[in-house]
């Protein structure tokens, strides 16, 4: 065997080993996806069933027997109902979170401006009620799942509207190209978040502000999962009491990551 032949043979061996490893990784990925799909099914169906019984019978008790309960009894019933409703909202959030990867559409060229305007329109009522002013620079075309990009815009807008300060919310969105990606920025004049908590806001079920603001702490976690599915990053720049700036990146069309 000549030197060239030997090198050629070694190269082919290495290539085959690599192919085998790749096939193994693909199989493992398939298993993980299937597990996640089974998990989301369990969340959507199996856990919901007993919860439905709890919620329904609590309502039935309230409907038929609330008048027979004293003030304390009614208070207990209220706490039980609140807990059940909260669990229901958490299950919904968890399901949405797990579906980011299992139910995502193909990434495609999407006009971010159109998606943003649609997301803002879906919050029309709360925008009117809070007197919010939302402004928007021209936004680019990006490589994204249109529905999921809409969810990111909607969740970030909702976040700014919910955690508003004592003045009417002002929210501005812009985007700048940096190399092969676009960096989106959403700035608000709301409550802001102390830098100590910046990592926590993107974690499932973590809330920084009190219960009076509602929500179960899933909105930003879902944003993070969506952006990461697109090969991007999301982060925050904020000080308590001085508004918040959320940033996220998305690949520009033609520069998509695999």
């Amino acid at each position: 065997m000549s030197q060239d032949d030997r090198t050629d043979w070694q190269l082919r061996q290495a290539n085959e080993a690599l192919q085998a490893k790749l096939a193994k990784c693909k199989r493992e990925l398939c298993t993980v996806r299937q597990d996640l799909e089974d998990f989301s099914y369990a969340v959507s169906h199996d856990l919901r069933e007993p919860l439905r019984m709890v919620c329904s019978y609590l309502e039935l008790i309230e409907k038929r027997y609330a008048h027979a309960l004293n003030e304390e009894g009614q208070e207990f019933l209220e706490y039980a109902t609140e807990g059940a409703e909260r669990l229901q909202a958490m299950l919904d959030g968890l399901l949405e979170y797990s579906r980011v990867t299992t139910r995502g559409q193909r990434l495609q060229a999407v006009d971010a401006g159109t998606v943003f305007r649609r997301a803002a329109a879906s919050l029309e009522r709360v925008i009117r009620e809070t007197g919010a002013v939302i402004t928007c620079d021209p936004l680019p075309t990006v490589h994204a799942d249109p529905d999921q990009l809409g969810t990111v815009f909607r969740n970030l807008l909702e976040n700014s509207l919910i955690f508003r300060g004592s003045v009417s919310p002002q929210i501005h969105i812009s985007a700048q190209q940096e190399g092969a990606e676009w960096v989106f920025t959403i700035v608000d004049n709301g409550l802001g978040i102390d830098p100590r908590f910046h990592d926590r806001v993107f974690v499932v079920f973590q809330r920084v502000h009190g219960r009076e603001y509602g929500g179960v702490g899933m909105g930003l976690a879902i944003c993070k999962r969506i952006i990461e599915r697109h090969g991007g990053r999301i982060w925050i720049d904020s000080q308590a009491g001085r508004g918040a700036k959320f940033f996220f990146t998305l690949p520009a069309p033609g520069a998509e990551t695999p």
């Binding site: 099914y41 959507s44 169906h45 919901r48 069933e49 919860l51 439905r52 019984m53 919620c55 329904s56 019978y57 309502e59 039935l60 409907k63 229901q88």
Partner: protein
Amino acid sequence: MKGWEMARPLRILLIEDNPADVRLTKEAFRESGCLTDLAVVEDGVEAMAFLRREGRYASAPRPDLILLDLNLPKKDGREVLAEIKSDNTLARTPVVVLTSSRADRDICRAYELGANCYVTKPIDLEQFLQVVKAVQDFWLAVVELPGE
């Protein structure tokens, strides 16, 4: 003939294994204020025996409408649905799948097997009452049912 034109209450067979759910469905029919004749069986094997009038169900009446839960012990709701729809005498009885699953695969499979409609049970009681009332109104007053 429409359900309300019958000289007797609409006969409904509820196939559901969870007693809490059975009770809730009964309460929903009660709240809707409409007279129905509701029979209940708790698993798929009992359901087929009832429908085929076997054993202790020899004199069971033929239902006008079947409400079927999907997850049942012994014989699954999907199997029950497949057996009903492939049986010449049973196939014409409308089957309403009434389940808490909103999974696409359950919905698609149920329609493939010949379900007449697929209804998910809402978590909220008021909504559940409305759903049961809507199902009842639709099958009683809107659709034409096969005669006996």
